[in-house]
Symmetry: C2
Subunit: 556 residues, 2 copies
């Protein structure tokens, strides 16, 4: 518990907000300085989280100083900006283990602390959640304060509007703190942010409006919260902050190996395709940098549509683009595709419109943990009739699938994980829709893998005589080739990196059953449970999907 | 083509909007009268659609009169109010077959007409869609008019806000017509509707604002559209209309048989449960009447939360209520649960909060067709770890499952279809979580059904000696009992009313495979394709799920 005591004279004596409340308001700026230093010294990973947290140091202090947490309900939208909140609410000593396996989550989490009454990870839920607490208390005759803190980026997500519209009608005593740092994940978009029309929005929705122009003046913040607390109406307090205030960028050590990740390959291929076909456009909800689309933006600034955190709009918009004759590549993180599930069904696939969904961050994502693992997309998409589902084993296959998708002219999904290390000179295979691919001819057993987990399979097969097939397409299944494999081998092993229900394993077992085949099928997928955070290597090991575990699985 | 010519002197000469445009503006009110009469005479089903369409007779005439459809893009949100649009765009002669199998869809549909550039069925997508068309044209150097018509109820869905926020930033030449009839499906909710703050919203989002107070004055409408067309900025034109203008209610012939539907049972049981437990509340996104919640509202006006068309908010709000100690029953139509899929995962199940999801309209819904069939919920929910999935075969089972869910204190799903005809005096079975149930002891073969389709199975089994089991719970599976069944019978037949991927059939096949059982398993589910509209009986027949088809399936 003793962190360089001399450097943190105030922070040393604060373990819980009740300690903080013993300070004079005039001491709070000094505490803010200590918290910035402490945060920077304690954690070096995930710049996005640290910068978001550094932007709300004063805001966090002021909230816990004025409001009686945890009795008062304080909910952080997304929860990635809650590092200061964690340090001030009993988690200081554990903070260095943040985002490491077994350590603190990178987000707020109910199981972690009573100061986290509602967890998060995805954006735009906090206002809905806080109204739920307020309504429950109203029914039970209880009264306290309810605060949601939401960034201007997260405010663009439609659920925020649904909740504000509800709040304004119900006139609950809820404080929405709008952390206006003019950022989404990339630069924020949308008319509200561009024109700053928050006060007008509040008038439209019958919310009181306050504005703190210098969100780094902690005494101002304290005074504003004290004043606003006097009314029992719903209010929005806009606090202007600077994301990453106090952040010192580390020198970029990006390896210049020439190797490419899936994201690099996605970007390079999309540029190539777009050069050849003027109808090709890219759509992304706030994931330009995460998805590797910076280069595409350089090349085709008018053909990249970053719609902000607004997955539903991104998908319907893509559908309409396709209806209009364009060829949209809609880039979504697997976990955020959950936000646009209805639009994928109702607007794209039911209308048979040729949108190519590039589902990034499929499978285990590592340190972001259970809110972000791309574990479910295979199952929830496999239920949709006529949708092509594919997954590349490597960079060259991703590139090939993007070209196949363009030719296919129907709704098409390509799922791939983060990272990878591919030689850009690797020749591209031909991957026609619905065809599996033999990677290594062997005997005795056949291993069939779906997607990038096939690389672990390749390693696991070193020294083993078995055949290796890349399924490539889960839908449509290459039934003819699969039935042939079921005939030739006595044992078939299926490996995939997604939850089991509706996945490749179940699809192949179902095929076997329909065909009345006697082949012995065994499947390895992600387990049917939520998977905690940790490094990708640790999680692969834990779920039995690393090459060592797989080799054992194949041998027995 | 000759519909009572004398009655429709103007309409008789109109097959396409180009015919309409030949009329003098002064003739349009008379045409409106003819259209009302024609609609009322031609179709008698689905009052919601007819009333919505009757409210926009003048609006529809004015739009096609001023804008150059189909060259100009006109998109109807939801598409249920598009009957007049259909009559004026070449579908007059087919209109009597509206919503019948093989006839016109009850919604707009791309495959049906070039005047339907983007189909619908679910709400709140039209503004996203129209911006997609406008952006595509901007890229291709094309220019025309783009109009979305959206009701004030559909505007509460978050995607509308995502799209308006986008539109305001991009300053596309798009006209959003807000059909303000002060209705959602039930009475509209939300601050915007209550306080009518549309003009302020437009200021916040940088949209031009117009208002036509009498939306039944067709000449006014024509003049407003002509004027607004002169600017190339995005605009919102609020048109105040009266839903169902000219509607003559038929006398209600609700059978007083005393029999209860699933919806009646849901309502009655929820009232009983709520009387015993003050923590029980009901949450619904605009489905009070559809779901049978009117009585609950009578009994517990403060404990029913109708949040309007806002499924995402409904689910996160329910999660927070549960976190606060309440016991929410969140009522969603299966098809609309797709809109809140991420919230079900991220806010409810990941946090293990005891929300009971009552998924109404599961399975085939009949005349509403492919946008509304509840075909996918089983598959997309089965991927979620730890979520209990159940389905009652009849009313008594629904009631029993609701009581089991309350005791279970974890996330719990109950899916059931519309309708049913149950004796309220039927004794309730005890349905503990994760246990299947023997309905009829027989020999040779065992039939295992999941959910209400079990009633067709019961009928199909008349005269057959086979056993009948009700699975009741798809998750957790009653593995022990199932493995016992696999041992006792050589043939097991599985019947369910949902798409195959991730369903009961695949789950049982997967269990059989893991256990190495030699039982012969055959499954009947909905086919892996989108299913058109028609009566429920016709569709059951078509998909092989009616008792006649099932009997054949069981015999062979």
């Amino acid at each position: 518990m003793r962190y360089l005591c001399a450097m943190f004279p105030l922070l040393n004596n604060i373990n819980l907000p009740e300690d903080l409340r013993k300070l004079e308001a005039s001491q709070l700026p000094a505490l803010a300085g200590e918290l910035r230093d402490f945060t920077l010294q304690s954690t070096k990973t995930k710049a996005g989280h640290i910068k978001s947290s550094l932007g709300v140091v004063e805001l966090t202090i002021a909230l816990h100083y004025v409001f009686n947490t945890p009795e008062d309900i304080l909910i952080w939208d997304v929860g990635h900006q809650a590092y200061i909140h964690k340090i001030l609410t009993g988690r200081k000593s554990k903070f260095a283990g943040n985002r490491l396996m077994g350590g603190l989550s990178g987000f707020t989490k109910r199981a972690e602390s009573p100061y986290d009454p509602f967890g998060a990870g995805h954006s735009s839920t906090s206002v809905s959640a806080v109204t739920g607490f307020a309504e429950a208390d109203r029914l039970m005759g209880k009264s306290r304060e309810y605060i949601a803190v939401i960034g201007d980026g997260a405010l663009t997500g439609g659920e925020s509007f649904e909740a504000l519209n509800y709040l304004g009608e119900r006139q609950l005593n809820v404080t929405v703190v709008l952390n206006d740092n003019e950022s989404s994940i990339d630069e924020n978009v949308g008319a509200l942010a561009r024109y700053g029309g928050y006060e007008k929005l509040c008038e439209a929705l019958h919310l009181e409006y306050y504005c703190v122009k210098d969100g780094h003046n902690v005494e101002n913040l304290v005074n504003t919260f004290k004043a606003s607390r006097e009314t029992n109406r719903p209010k929005l307090i806009r606090v202007c902050t600077q994301k990453g205030k106090g952040w010192k960028a580390l020198s970029e050590n990006k390896a210049q190996s020439g190797a490419q990740s899936f994201q690099d390959v996605f970007s390079r291929t999309l540029i190539e395709i777009a050069k050849d076909n003027s109808k090709v456009v890219a759509v992304t909800p706030a994931m330009i940098s995460g998805g590797g689309l910076q280069d595409f933006k350089q090349h085709f600034p008018n053909r990249l549509f970053d719609v902000g955190i607004a997955e539903q709009h991104a998908v319907t918009f893509s559908a309409a683009m396709a209806a209009s004759g364009m060829r949209p590549f809609c880039h979504l993180y697997s976990t955020f595709a959950q936000r646009a599930y209805d639009q994928i069904i109702h607007d794209v696939v039911l209308q048979n419109l040729p949108v190519v969904f590039c589902l990034d961050r499929a499978g285990l994502v590592g340190e972001d943990g259970p809110t972000h693992h791309g574990a479910f997309d295979t199952g929830f998409l496999n239920t949709i009739p006529g949708l092509v589902l594919s997954a590349p084993i490597d960079g060259a296959s991703l590139s090939a699938l993007m070209r196949t998708a363009l030719k296919h002219e129907k709704p098409f999904v390509i799922r791939y994980p983060k990272g990878g290390n591919f030689d850009p000179g690797q020749p591209e295979p031909d991957l026609p829709t619905g065809k599996l691919r033999l990677l290594k001819k062997g005997e005795e057993k056949a291993v069939i893998s779906y997607g990038a987990i096939g690389q672990e399979v390749e390693q696991a097969l070193t020294g083993l005589p078995y055949s290796h097939y890349d399924l490539v397409f889960l839908k449509p299944l290459d039934e003819k080739a699969l039935l042939e494999i079921f005939k030739v081998y006595k044992d078939v092993l299926v490996v995939e990196e997604n939850s089991p229900a509706g996945g490749a394993g179940e699809s192949l077992i179902s095929l076997k059953n329909r065909a009345g085949s006697a082949v012995k099928l065994k499947c390895r997928s992600l387990p049917d449970e939520f998977i905690e955070h940790g490094s990708r290597a640790q999680l692969l090991r834990k779920t039995g999907l690393d090459s060592v575990s797989l080799q054992e699985f194949f041998r027995t």
